[in-house]
Every structure is written in C-alpha cells, then in structure tokens.
C-alpha cells in the first residue's frame, strides 16, 4: 500500500502561485480529505500527485520512490475528475476494462476483472449501457470501478460527490469511504464541503492559497483550529474583536466591546495585545431567564433574541448581547425544538475551555475571512 510524500512543492501558473512550498505526508491506507475554497490549489495538488502537472520545484514520493519525472501511466495512482470522465464512446464494461487492457492484460482477463468490479458495485446489469444512460450516482460508481480495476493502490478523487444532489451526497459519501477501506486503498479526496470532509476523512488537510493551514483529525480541526481561517471554514463560529486584559497561568481575561470581560483557556497573548476570540456556535448555551445556570463569574452574558431559524438538526439563534456584539448559537433539535421569538430576553453562557484565541489579523478580520 502506497504512501504519498510531498516536499516543498511549488507550482506557478503565470503570476499566480497555486501551490506555495507545500510539504505533506499521507500514510498507507488512510482516507485523507483535502478541504479548501475554490482556488486554494486542491486540484493542482491532486494533479501533481497524479503526474498530470509537473511542479516547478519540490519532490514527490509515492511509496518512497521519487516520482517527479515518472509519467502518469506508471505511478499506480488513479485520478477521478469531478465529472468522472467516463469514455462516452465505450460501454460501461469497456470503460472499466480500459485500465487493465492498457496495462497489457489479455482481453479475457481484463473483461473478467471488469465484470467482477461491476458486480461489486451492483452495476453488473448495466455492463452494456453507455455512460450517458446512467444516473449521476451510477456514473460515479462506474468511475470508481474503473479505477479499482487497475489494482492501483492510490485513489485521487477530485470532488467526487460535487456533481450530485445534496441528499445523494450525504447518502453516498459513507459508501465511498467504505469502498476505499475494504479495498485497502489510500485515498486523497478533494472537496470544498467541510461537512463532507468531517464526515468521512481520517485526516483533514485544510488548504488555502496553496498552503496547508492545518493537517489533523476532524475532531481536532473542529475543536482546536490552528488559525482563524480554519476556525471559520470548518463549522460555524462566532468571532469577536478583543484585547487581552489579564494573563494568568490557567488562562486569560479578554475585554470585548463595551468592556465585557470574558474568561478564556488560552494564555499565549500578552496584556494589551489585540486578539480575536472564537467560540463555536454549538458551544454556546442559551438559557431563558429563570433557568438554572452554572455559577461561574465570567462568560454569562445577557442578551436579546434577534431571530431564530430552524435548520433541521439544529436551531440557530441570533442574539444581540448586552455589549452590542452579535452572537449565533446552535442548539440540537433533540434538546429543544422551540423557536425563541424575536425580542425574547435570554442568557448566553459558555465555558472558557470552549474558546480559542488568535492574534488579530493585520489586514482586518473581514478581509482575512474573505471567501465570497
């Protein structure tokens, strides 16, 4: 089973640097999701591993072998683009047999392997159809079967679920992961959908402007985002401009808008420094007056509901805090399915351990988080 290693890879297209001195290692058999906005370099990265794009600088190793000059057909890494690229003039069976045939297997052998693969995908009955007669989900399975038929051990998926409806995506993503695991394959799955990456990745690589911002498990990327961008891109979060008021060994006190004081677990920043306080939306607890609240001194703020939205699994609440800041909370529907009316007085509270702090970005918060 192959592992993939990139060392200081750089790729430029004219004046744009798509990959900016990137180093990364992917162990055997892992299902790794590369997550990032459009233009972050995800596709270029995949193509560099596949051998379809040659990097300007840096080294690429597959299974500890330097492959930079190796042509794509010898790397044992199958590339599946977003639109699947099924050969329109061949039947499903011929498509799946293409890989083995091109590698020199006899026709009988290739067709047999192809049929096996299709059976495994429960598409045996469509072997003689043409790709455009199949639905999106089926086409995806054919593309996967075609890749697996080559017995390649490295699968490079470029937004494999992107062309499908939202609901179908949710249903099929687990199957993708299952397939890779059962076949003992290392998979690199590129996506812009953080819910998808979180749901199926062993590890997530968050990419922005050609650089890795964090490489960790979904849990860590969610709970301990390493940068403002990661905190913003993965899951919903609240961002507050603040200044460090006090610093202790077990945490710090931050001063927000209008003097509101908040206790945080982080103690890296010095008093006087401008920082950004981040609290995940689902770590905010909303209590109505009269409800029981822990007796912490800090992190209990009065507020007023501006609006409430039903999101299915969660109820999202926009709250105007006493100090003027806006706070969004997410409460699981299983806890309560009541939509708080606008104007309702509430008390928002959260634990210091549920906060993260970052230094205030020089170009300003809005520009730093610009995705639109």
């Amino acid at each position: 089973m192959p592992s993939v290693r990139l060392v200081d890879v750089v790729k430029r297209f004219g004046t744009i640097t798509a990959i900016n001195r990137l180093s990364m290692e992917i162990p055997d058999g892992e299902y790794v999701c590369i997550l990032g906005p459009t233009g972050s370099g995800k596709t270029s990265l995949l193509k560099i591993v596949a051998g379809l794009t040659i990097p300007d600088e840096g080294e690429v190793y597959i299974n500890d072998r330097l492959v930079v000059s190796m042509p794509p057909e010898e790397r044992g890494a199958v590339y599946v683009p977003q639109q699947y690229a099924l050969f329109p003039h061949m039947t499903v069976l011929e498509n799946v047999a293409f890989g083995p045939l091109s590698r020199g297997t006899s026709e009988d052998e290739a067709l047999r392997t192809a049929r096996e693969m299709l059976e495994m995908m429960r598409l045996g009955h469509r072997a003689d159809s043409k790709p455009d007669e199949l639905s999106g989900g089926m086409q995806q399975r054919v593309a996967l079967a075609r890749g697996l038929a080559t017995k390649a051990k490295l699968l490079l998926l470029d937004e494999p679920l992107g062309a499908l409806d939202a609901r179908l995506r949710v249903e099929l993503r687990h199957k993708l992961r299952e397939l890779a695991k059962e076949s003992g394959i290392t998979a690199i799955h590129v996506t812009h959908d953080q819910a998808e990456a979180t749901a199926i990745g062993d590890q997530i690589v968050v990419l922005r402007d050609g650089r890795i911002r964090q490489y960790a498990t979904p849990f860590h990327v969610y709970m301990r985002p390493q940068s403002l961008f990661v905190a913003y891109f993965v899951g919903g979060a609240n961002f507050f401009q603040a200044m460090v008021a006090e610093r202790h060994s077990d945490g710090s006190i931050l001063e927000l808008n209008q003097g509101l004081l908040v206790k945080v677990q982080d103690n890296t920043y010095l008093p006087g420094e401008e920082v950004v306080l981040v609290i995940r939306e689902d770590r905010v607890n909303v209590a109505e007056p009269g409800e029981q609240i822990p007796s912490e001194l800090y992190n209990v703020v009065q507020g007023e509901v501006l609006s409430s939205r039903f999101l299915g699994e969660f109820i999202s609440c926009q709250i105007r805090l006493a100090n003027g800041d806006l706070l969004t909370s997410r409460t699981p529907t299983s806890k309560t399915d009541r939509l708080l009316p606008a104007g309702q007085k509430v008390i928002a509270h959260f634990e210091p351990s549920d906060t993260t702090v970052y230094s205030y970005p020089p170009i300003g918060l809005t520009r730093e988080l610009r995705v639109l």
Partner: protein, 505 residues
C-alpha cells in the same frame, strides 16, 4: 509551417507602364470592394437564414440546411458556368426579357460570389447558434426585452467573434476565387482575373507585382477587419420598445423569413442546380457517348480529370499525415499559449491569401530555388492551399474532447499513443472524414493557383475555363457535360459526408 510561400521571388520588374499599373491598381481595389460587399450581403441574408434553420421547426430547418449546402457542394467553376447560363440567353428569365437578362460583367460576378460564399456564413452561424446557450436570451426576456431586442442587444454581441469569423471567411473566398470569376467576368477585372490575363499575356513583372500587392493587401485587410470587428463599439444601448415589439411579431418574422429564403433560392440555389438542364440535354444529344469514347477534346478532358483527382488524393493523404500532429499541437496548446496563437495564425495564411497569388509566388520560389517539374510544383501548391482545412477541422474537433478524458486515461495506465488511438481518434473520427473530404474537394475545385503555376499541365477546372472562354473551341453541350461530370464526383463526395455527419447527430 509553409511560411516559405511568403518568399516571393520578386522579379522587381515593377513596370513603368502607367496604363498597366493603373489597371492593376483598379483590379485590386475592385477585389477588395467586391469581397467586402459580398461578405456584408452574405451576413445580411445568411444570419436570418441560419436563424431559420436553428430556431424554427426541425423539419423545415433540416430542409433549408441541406439546401444551404448545395452551392458549397459544387466546384466553383461549375457554379460559374451554371450562373452564366442561368442568367443568360438560355436561362429561365430570358423569355421574359427577350434575350440575356444579364451578361458577363460586374453584376454577374457579384451574384456569383454571393452564391458561393453564402453557405460559408450559414454553416458557421448554424454551428454557433446550435451551440449557443439560449439562457442569455431568455434572461434578457425575463427582464422585459422583446425577442428582437434580446437578440440585438445580447445574442449578437455575444456571437460577435463568430460573425466576424464568418465575415472573414466569405471575404477570403471572394478575394480568392478565380475559375468561376473568369467565366462570368467579361471585361470586368478583379485581382485574380487580372493576374490570369496578365499571365496569359506573358507580362511576368505585372504578374509578380499584382500577386505581391494582393497578398499584402489581403493580409492587411484581414487584420484590420478582425481588429475592428471585435473592438468596434456598436450602438447596443439604444432601444425602441414599441417598434421592436412589432418587429418581433409573427407577421414580421414570417415576412423576414420569406424574403430571405426567396433571395437565397433565386440567387444561390437555382443557378447552382441549373446545370442539370443543359447537361441533361447533352446526355441525350450524343455528346455523352462521344465523351465516353475519349475521342477528340475528350481525351485531354479525361487526362485533366484524372490529374485533378490524383493531385487531390495526394494532397489529402499528405495533409492528413502532416496535419494531424499539428492539429493536436494547436488544440492542446502543447507549446504554450502564445506560441500556439502564433502557429494558429500562420496556419490560417493559405486561406487569407488568394490562391492565385499563392500559386504565383510558389511558382516563382521553386523556379528560382531550383528547377522542379511542373507537376511537383502543382502538387505542392495544392498541398499548401488545402492544408488549413484539415488542420482547422481536426483542431476544433480535438479541442472539443475534454482534456480530463485524456488525463484520466493516462492515470489508468495508458501511454500517450494509446490514449490518442483509443480515446481521441474514436471521438473525432467524423472530423477526420470531414477534414479529408473537405481537403479533397477543395483541391479538385482549385483553379487560381493552378492557372498561375502551370503552362502545360491543366487540371479539370482550368481546362473547363479554357473550354468556356473559348480558348479551346467546343460545343456548348460539350461544355455542359464536361462541367456536369466534374460536379458529379464532388457532389457525391460531399453528400456522403453529410450523411455520415447526420448519423453522428
């Protein structure tokens, strides 16, 4: 590729003959004026016609589509002959006017040029319109624009590159055409006619001068038109809601369609098909048997015909072999964006430059470089002229094959040659056929260059011009039959092409 064609072995003998100079200047200016007017007329009629084909009901569209191709399927020499007799004393209008309605001269040349260049515009525009995303137009309508307004302010500006391209193509065709123009020109002279006349008179200096000016002039005209065409700001912002609503109405549309179709039928179709009549006669009055026996003038005819076809086949095969790698290079931009555009432009030169001038310059070049047999020079000139057709057709087709197919195939284990053989070729096979047939028919059709190059050898079209202009005396039914038989092969070849393409769609 064939940049050598620009190496005009200039004889520098720019004659001090003021009358000749004036005559050459007038001929070349007339060429430009003629080409420009014809191209404009083509757009005026061709665009609504293309619209009719793509947007109205499918059966009507198909019929007009097929009809629109007819002038294209006939070698221009034949078209010239047919046009001459259609409007002449033997034509259907003669009885009405008691004699020839039109005699060879400027008007006839205009009608002729219009007829053979219209299909070009229609072809290009139909292709563009079929691929055009109607969503833009629909968006305009949801914003309140009447159909005519939507087309004028949104669709046409978006299709501008195609409009300019088709304008340039018909411009080039008009500039370049020689054989048919000679037939219907009478005393009128445009560039190619002048060159032929001057060559026949042995005035080499004038010949080289005129060729040179024509080449430079046409390239300049091209660049200018292309630049202006794409950049000129048009009055897209003015709107006349009331008038445009009426003009979008059903009756207006019907009137427009009818007029356009009528003009098309009378000026392009009827003359094209008219050849059938006299040749039909010729079959029955014994000329056919004479032809088949190969006696007398027919001996040279068959020789010329065979020469034409042999050169055609050689040109096609060589161009396919040489053109394919070039097409891949252009389509996949292997040498980088800028270098590819440069090569792209170079490949276009044979189309931009009038074939007669091309032929003349090639002849000079090879004669100065070293004595080459005439046959070889002839073949080379045909190769050069038809090269573009194959490369263009193939590169457009290869470009439409998504790169992701090739990329995926390679990661599945296929080497580049395998990818080409098993993925690209099967998906472009119709274009290979298409390109080959276009190349072949263009070569058979070619008159100008041949006329400029040869002294002894005559290909079929050149021979027919001689017959028709009276350089060689033959009966009129012999003329008709000779022309008809030339038409036969081209017609059949192009019909096969159409059917093959129909199957694909």
């Amino acid at each position: 590729m064939f940049g050598i064609l620009l190496k005009l072995g200039e004889m520098g003998e720019i004659f001090r003959d003021p009358a000749l100079l004036a005559r050459s200047q007038s001929a070349i200016s007339w060429s430009m004026i003629l080409a420009f007017s014809v191209a404009s007329l083509d757009l005026l009629i061709g665009l609504p016609l293309a619209w009719l084909i793509v947007r109205s009901n499918p059966t009507l569209g198909s019929v007009v589509d097929t009809l629109a191709d007819i002038p294209f399927m006939i070698p221009t020499v034949a078209l010239g002959f047919s046009t001459m007799i259609f409007w002449g004393p033997q034509g259907p209008l003669a009885p009405v006017f008691g004699g020839a309605f039109l005699t060879p001269g400027l008007v006839l040349v205009v009608l002729l040029h219009f007829a053979f260049s219209l299909p070009v515009v229609v072809r290009v525009m139909v292709g563009e319109l079929s691929g055009y995303r109607e969503t833009f137009e629909i968006a305009a309508k949801t914003l309140g624009a009447e159909p005519l307004t939507a087309v004028r302010t949104v669709t046409l500006p978006i299709l501008r590159p195609a409009l300019v391209a088709s304008f340039l193509l018909s411009f080039a065709r008009s500039l370049s055409e020689t054989g048919a123009t000679i037939i219907v020109a009478g005393t009128f002279e445009n560039g190619p006619v002048f060159i032929k006349n001057v060559k026949d008179a042995g005035l080499e200096g004038a010949l080289s001068f005129a060729s040179f000016v024509l080449i430079v002039g046409s390239i300049a005209a091209f660049v200018l038109i292309r630049y202006l065409g794409l950049r000129l700001r048009l009055p897209v912002s003015k709107v006349w809601p009331e008038t445009e609503r009426k003009l979008s109405g059903q009756r207006a549309v019907l009137a427009r369609d009818f007029t356009v179709f009528a003009v098309f039928a009378v000026i392009a179709i009827a003359p094209s098909l008219f050849i059938a009549l006299p040749s039909g006669q010729a079959v029955f009055d014994g000329t056919l048997s004479e032809a088949l026996s190969g006696r007398g003038v027919w001996e040279t005819y068959w020789q010329s015909l065979i020469l034409s076809y042999v050169i055609g086949i050689i040109a096609t095969v060589v161009n396919m072999l040489v053109g394919m790698p070039m097409a891949v290079l252009i389509a996949r931009k292997r040498l980088g964006r800028q270098r590819t555009s440069l090569i792209d432009a170079l490949v276009d030169i044979p189309i931009v430059v009038p074939s007669v001038a091309l032929g003349a310059s090639l002849a000079f070049f090879w004669r100065t470089v070293g004595a080459l047999p005439e046959l070889l020079i002839l073949t080379i000139s045909h190769l050069t002229i038809t090269y573009t057709y194959f490369v263009r057709t193939m590169s457009a087709s290869i470009e439409s094959v998504p790169v992701s197919l090739e990329e995926t195939a390679r990661t599945l284990g296929a080497r580049p040659l395998t990818v080409f053989r098993r993925i690209v070729l099967p998906l472009t096979k119709y274009s290979v056929l298409s390109g080959a047939i276009l190349t072949f028919t263009r070569s058979v059709d070619e008159t100008g260059a041949t006329a400029a190059v040869t002294t002894k050898l005559k290909t079929a079209p050149v021979l027919l011009v001689d017959w028709i202009k009276g350089t060689v005396r033959v009966s009129s039914s012999t003329q008709s039959l000779g022309v008809a038989m030339l038409v036969m092969v081209s017609f059949v070849a192009l019909l096969v092409l159409r059917l093959a393409l129909r199957k694909k769609r």
